[in-house]
Symmetry: C2
Subunit: 219 residues, 2 copies
């Protein structure tokens, strides 16, 4: 492992119902920093699938951009995902949130038949082909399973999502709060976070544990 691992963290907006889950994103940044790593943030420069009023749960008629909204979590320090060169990093981590299933892919609408944003697919494939670990929290492991046929992941215990992962050729392992599933062949580490009914401390633990597993697989 290099002295100070460089981690690319990929965000999908800002807010659980239409973007990146805020606690998972923040806790991933904290986990990388606490464990001696450095991170840079990336998000696709595309329009959000839609905008959800997080107070009412209802769709609004607004338009928002994934990169611009993710910049709120990033305090402005974020780059378009198209600028990410995996060669510059030691690992890639995907926090969760519906943005992963609505903006980075259409898994929320098409399940196992989903398609994945080309920049996301290429990022995952390039990491794997260059022996760099990929971490994924919450619903993100489903997108990783779509890209990497046969990968072993966890999204917790949700049967419908687990079935979709199996239908995409993946292996799903049931887990509980803070637990991490590691696929050593693909170097993929996953943890359920808010795919379970979790507290914010559970999210901190999950982010810490998956980051530790990712760091442990860096050459």
């Amino acid at each position: 492992m290099s002295k100070s691992p460089k981690i690319a963290i990929i965000l999908s907006g800002n807010g659980v119902y239409d973007g990146a889950e805020i606690h998972e994103s923040t806790m991933t940044m904290l986990a990388v920093d606490k464990q001696g790593g450095e991170y840079e943030l990336f998000a696709p420069d595309i329009e959000q699938h839609h905008v959800i009023n997080h107070l009412t749960g209802e769709e609004t008629d607004e338009k928002r951009n994934v990169l611009v909204e993710a910049a709120r979590i990033a305090r402005g320090k974020i780059k378009p995902l198209s600028d990410l060169d995996v060669a510059d990093f030691d690992a890639v981590i995907f926090p969760g949130g519906f943005g992963v299933a609505k903006n980075l892919s259409d898994f929320a609408f098409k399940g196992a038949d989903c398609s994945v944003l080309p920049d996301v697919e290429n990022t995952i494939k390039k990491a794997v082909s260059s022996g760099k670990p990929v971490g994924a929290l919450c619903i993100s492991p489903a997108v990783v399973a779509k890209v990497l046929e046969g990968v072993k992941v966890t999204i917790g215990q949700d049967q419908e999502t687990a079935d979709a992962i199996k239908n995409m050729g993946g292996n799903h392992v049931n887990t509980s709060h803070g637990e991490v599933t590691v696929d050593e062949k693909f170097k993929v580490a996953t943890t359920p976070c808010y795919m379970l009914d979790a507290t914010i401390s559970d999210i901190a633990n999950g982010a810490e544990n998956v980051t530790k597993a990712v760091f442990g697989m860096i050459n």
Copy 2:
């Protein structure tokens, strides 16, 4: 101290430049949960002063509501600040972000001559009059100083803000990362967080330390 302290956390939007600072808000929730407390989130149901594109730093022509945006940090579990009855809680904590100085008050524009949202002023005064501690992170101590004449607070080391606090009748103490200033008479605990050039681990430490000080002053 009651067995599981109940803390009201007051948010001012969602995003450092026009709302609540996301890391400070998240880390405050984590600190309360980790230290055995319970929290409920509140935000005023008002229009944001303005909307800043966090990628470019420029003002946009959008309109957003403070409560609706704060609901993104809260995953939907948040109430209007007008519903907060301080009697139901053991303490109140204000994370920072420009939203505190733009939405909860107009400190960002008027400095020492600012006015504070009545619901915010009443919340602080009611906490103090009923002997309940108030915690404040980042720029929030300036608003507390406007409401509580003579209070001792810290916002770190920014001279202009420290001078404004003195002009409002407050006492300012210079501090560094993670340090907490306690006014024992008013039961006010404050910490600088992103008023300094801080890492996300510094924010976690600051939130943890100020929450510990708040918990220590609960009867």
